[in-house]
Symmetry: C2
Subunit: 422 residues, 2 copies
């Protein structure tokens, strides 16, 4: 289900194609979140027009509402939400555990970043028990007690009918002991086998399964986990759990893991869970990651923070700040997104955001997803052309994605020379 | 600036074209609200794609934020919000007075309708004094004392650069005495003259001015007011103030007024302020109204209430209700709007609305504005074909707008046989 097209000479970076039940996905790719069955503020036609071929639905949220039975009755998640391209569903583990470990959703990813909109996971609800069999927790929707086990997670994902299902894992946080991390990892490996066993006989046709590497920030545990997952029958491999307390450590942990995976399972696709900062996407591609999902670009958009080619400012500009009150310029000169090409000024967006107009949230969301889509296109083009280092150097130097002179120009959404002509 | 194309034989209904600085407007037309410089949840390109040629911006809200100076500095409201078709601005009077009269925004229109999202006017802020010179009130944005007079309202509308400015009037509520209504009306007439005097020398090129008929539910006062406004130099005439306590009385008051206007100013366009229920639009067209503005279709959409051809249910269906939880059908079979033609089920919309997903608000808003746009097209086609009674009878009998067999079919937004080929 995965073909590698080009392997970069100087790094583990590679381009390829995921062949999924609902179409191909050019990699490396960013995967926008449709947490509750919609990419927030957008319609599916908008997401497709931005060039995305794969989105992520959250098993945990969709389990609680509207429930997998209803989604299945409506023809599956694709039909329910009217998205005819590929969908990956997470296992629900991240939400269950980020909730249970006491609002440490961000700490799990270990980055202490400024959170624009609070943690991704709901603050209400709580975990009741983590047992070998599965996890008991309280629903944030109705307060009722719920139980989620590996088989149950796979059953939900089967009902949703996603193209890629993720196995149920414990998303081990950063603040626990090495001993806990190891025990948790070993349980995750046993859950992996249970997930694959369930899926072997009951998984829907066309659905592939990704295992998840845990092991926290311990190099030996990451190697053990990578080996365990690589030795399983899973179709692809995700990297989860705590990735450290800062970006440097995160890149190190990801590097350890992809180094093992490159050796043990070089032809299986690799997904990095919950990472979506611009610099992390660039680093992740260099480290051999094929797909990334993250709430960040869309969540930042809803909080008025736009992505721009400004590495020193974290690739961000906060349009809510008073300094943009009368700024006539667009978010990014020459950008082809509906907000910039539509001629909306920073002043207008600032005003809409302050006035809490939903149109403003939509416009900045469209810009951010456009920015990330063009970034990934540039990285793919760089790998294919054997010039990834130059592309990365340009991006890190402040070059705007999607404005490479070799292309058809920033206003042209159909790029004839790009490898992925969406 | 207004040419009448067809006058209906059996009623005061008529079709025509408003020739405005930013393009023509086919009438009768509904005017969506861009209260704070955006049609809520939509981009300008969406509103244009639905077929609208005229939208309404609120002087009161734009005065408080971002302020007319900023809008003017950014090139005017069209350039600021990136809408290149026509804009009408109200005078700010409605908001000032509906606020001042103690949350009677709905009572002013006298309809006691079930309010889906509270009154259109803000509940905070308050009126401090109504004087001959103008009105002092408190800003809901910063709590500061503000003053608005006829000249000030015209100056704000000049800065905004709208195609149609409305004179500053006192929007007289329903619960006051006849004596108050009469004194208020007379002051509104004096304010009309002050507005026209200011505009004569300082109004921007291309901007036309509508006077406003007041007089409450008193037939003689409406006649006096219609005569006063008709005898002024205004370019068009709006009908404002209290229109009674139910739909029957509203239609009666509008009928008295258009009867006078038909006699006194037959060639000037007539706008009915704040009316947008489907049955009221139909009745209004029969009574000779050329344009209507109202928050209703968009506000209902944001509250999950969709417009449908069900006269007995007030042309509405509440998608938030539990009965739609697993309904596979679209809002309206055969409807060509992005929500229905996009294949989104009532079940999905119900789920999105319950989950407070912004995508849901957008989809129902798109449907409602599509429904109203097609309704107005049908009414225009009926007048032009000399068969308005049949068209109205069909609509009142539950026929879906925009699905006339003479047309190209509901999925086709480009209608070659329609009089207004958007």
């Amino acid at each position: 289900m995965f073909t590698v097209r080009t392997r970069s000479a100087g790094s583990r970076a590679r381009t390829g194609t995921l062949h999924l039940a609902h179409g191909d996905v050019q990699t490396p790719a960013f995967v926008p979140l449709a947490t509750k069955g919609a990419v927030k503020t957008l319609e599916p036609r908008d997401v497709a027009a931005l060039g995305y071929e794969l989105i992520l639905g959250n098993t945990f949220h969709l389990l609680l509402a509207p429930g997998p039975e209803l989604v299945a009755q409506m023809g599956g998640l694709h039909e329910f939400m009217r998205w005819d391209r590929a969908i990956i569903t997470d296992s629900g583990g991240f939400q269950v555990f980020s909730m249970g470990h006491g609002g440490v959703a961000d700490e799990i990813k270990g980055r202490g970043r400024g959170r624009p909109g609070g943690p991704a996971a709901p603050r209400t609800g709580s975990i009741l028990a983590i047992e070998e069999e599965g996890v008991r927790f309280r629903s944030y929707v109705d307060g009722g007690e719920r139980f989620l086990a590996p088989e149950g997670s796979m059953a939900v994902q089967a009902a949703l009918g996603s193209d890629i299902a993720l196995v149920f894992d414990e998303c081990t946080p950063f603040h626990v002991s090495r001993e806990y991390t190891e025990r948790s990892m070993e349980r995750t490996h046993r859950w992996l086998e249970r997930c694959l066993r369930w899926h072997e006989t009951r998984g829907p046709a066309g659905q592939v399964v990704y295992g998840i590497v845990q092991g926290g920030v311990e190099r030996d545990l990451r190697a053990i986990s990578a080996a365990a997952v690589a030795s399983s029958a899973c179709d692809g491999i995700a990297i989860g759990g705590s990735l450290g307390q800062d970006k440097a450590q995160m890149h190190e942990v990801v590097g350890w893991t992809t180094e093992e995976l490159e050796r043990l399972a070089p032809d299986r696709p690799r997904h990095l869970l919950g990472i979506g900062d611009v610099d992390d996407l660039i680093a992740g591609v260099e480290l051999g990651i094929d797909t990334f999902d993250c709430a960040l670009p869309t969540r930042l958009g809803r909080h008025g923070v736009a992505l721009v080619p400004a590495p020193d400012s974290g690739w961000r500009v906060d349009l809510v700040k008073g300094r943009w009150r009368s700024a006539p310029e667009p978010i990014l000169d020459g950008c082809g997104c509906p907000a910039c090409a539509g001629g909306f000024s920073r002043a207008y967006l600032h005003y809409l955001l302050r006035a809490r107009e939903l149109t403003g949230l939509r416009l900045v969301t469209l810009h951010n997803l456009w920015f990330i889509a063009r970034l990934m296109e540039d990285l793919r083009a760089g790998v294919d052309a054997g010039r990834l280092p130059e592309v990365v150097a340009a991006l890190r130097g402040g070059a705007a994605p999607g404005m490479d002179a070799r292309r058809n120009g920033p206003m042209d959404a159909e790029r004839s020379e790009a490898p992925n002509p969406h």
